[in-house]
Amino acid sequence: MYWNQKCETMSREEMRALQSARLMDCVKRVYENVPVYKKKFDAAGIQPGDIKSIDDITKLPFTDKYELAENYPYGFFAVPMRDIVRIQASSGTTGKQKVLGYTKHDLELWGEVMARTLTAGGATSEDIVHVSYGYGLFTGGLGAHTGAETIGATVVPVSTGNTKRQIQILHDFGCTAICCTPSYALYIAETLAKMGMGPDDISLKYGFFGAEPWTENMRQEIERSLGIRAYDIFGLTEMIGPGVAFECDAHGGLHVNEDHFIPEIIDPDTCEPLPDGTPGELVFSSVTKEGMPLLRYRTRDICTITHEPCACGRTLARMSKPAGRTDDMLIVRGVNVFPSQIEAVLLDIDETSPYYMIYVDRVGVLDTMDIEVELRDGYPFDQVRRLQELSKRIKSAVESSLGIAANIRLVPVGTIQRSEGKAKHVVDRRNLK
């Protein structure tokens, strides 16, 4: 099911033509209305007229979160305040919040992309949509809300908290779709079970989960314990909030609403564009936004992208789930390595735990990478041959994922330090003398 069949299934040529026109228009608007952009363009020696098609996007300067902070709160707005009808902001872990202003048109656009998201999962005007993302400055609640309204569904704006009451609402109101974080979905399922109920006691058919990373295992667990189909949503406040990319039934990545948010993958180090399938930093240009369009905004998320048409019939480019942040990137023997790529390999190997530590050393002029991998608790390790086979299997999986070789060292359960907060995965000993 499509919400906007024309935009979701247009040919690559049509999409490129549409993106070209929209990019040229956006470049002109920001140059004329956003002093920060005028300064950036002038410094780079670029005039709006230099951008003649989507291929010229690589001539444009990037925008990053530091510039947003420097121009907090309204420095990137491209229209007068009287045209801004809504402010949203990201929670922001450090420093200043990222503030986004929406015009009336931008709110409709938000409704459109979220409508595509909900429709791809099967939701229609017949549905009763339970929104338990937080409402407020955070984009989750209002984003899901506006999408559900756009498709004409019945919205139940529950927001967060009081899980037992949420379950009562799910049950009594006959909600058929739910929007929340994946971890909250699991918590609802757990609470439901504790209350002596199961999937048959509620009417949910599908759920749309985002705002935090989640795994395929979590999807299966959510689908099983709530008796629903679960779809991933991707978004970021700087673009619009949820709805930048969404999942279809093919589960082959997330479809980017690229007629509005033009994606690129770049090498975070050299800033050169990377081809489809190569992991790198995701960059977006929100070319149709009026309130605060951003050009080549660096998300710091690492993923791959493909422009191959999807089994579902959509031609919208697909991005992989973000596999980490550029801040964690290592360069080993000239190759960009993301610890999360190693984590992804280990998650597929049953005999190991997800705990690992990467040691990078320099021997002579060569970088070496050693990865300590913990055995899974209870793994019957008694045969040397099987351990060596396991080690070899991890080695070749890591090599095919990273493109460079690493030594694998299997270590006993509990060897690798557990951390409360952000796990430390890398010890780089190359600069130590």
């Binding site: 793994y379 019957p380 390790f381 060292r409 509990g414 060897t415």
Partner: protein, 145 residues
């Protein structure tokens, strides 16, 4: 049940790893009947036959060691030339392959035992017994002097 529970500990290949294990067992009063070490450049597997495997396992697990209990065969060897050869011939004749083997002697030195790790220890024990060999069970092991 004609097999004994071998306790294996997975250790990093560095000095002191083995001493930590043996010290824990000594403190718990567990008697080590036999042990063998298999090691590679990265890791080692310490395999042990002890008088009370359950206690050994618990002590090691409490100390957060990486432990696994594996059923192995402890076959009694007659104290005469060719005894080991007899065992090996029976295994070969029945196409039973041995993952690894090591030996120990009872404290009164009356008998020697060979520890065998095989697939399906239960049926292999039967084959050995049909060929006149004695295979220890866990209770006998505990009583063994």
């Amino acid at each position: 049940m004609n097999y004994v529970n071998q306790i294996s500990v997975f250790v990093e290949n560095k000095t002191g790893s083995l001493a930590q294990v043996t010290e824990l067992l000594a403190e718990a009063g567990v008697d080590l009947r036999a042990f063998s070490i298999a090691d590679t450049s990265e890791f080692g597997i310490l395999r042990m036959i002890v008088d009370r495997p359950e206690i050994a396992e618990e002590v090691l697990k409490t100390a957060k060691a990486t432990v696994v209990k594996t059923p192995v065969l402890a076959v009694r060897l007659e104290d005469k030339p060719g005894a080991m050869n007899h065992v090996m011939k029976v295994l070969a004749a029945n196409s039973i392959s041995v993952e690894y083997a090591y030996a120990f002697v009872s404290r009164d030195r009356e008998f020697a035992y060979v520890v065998l790790r095989v697939d399906e220890p239960g049926s292999v024990a039967e084959v050995l017994m049909e060929n006149g060999l004695q295979v220890l069970g866990n209770e006998e092991l505990e009583k063994l002097q």
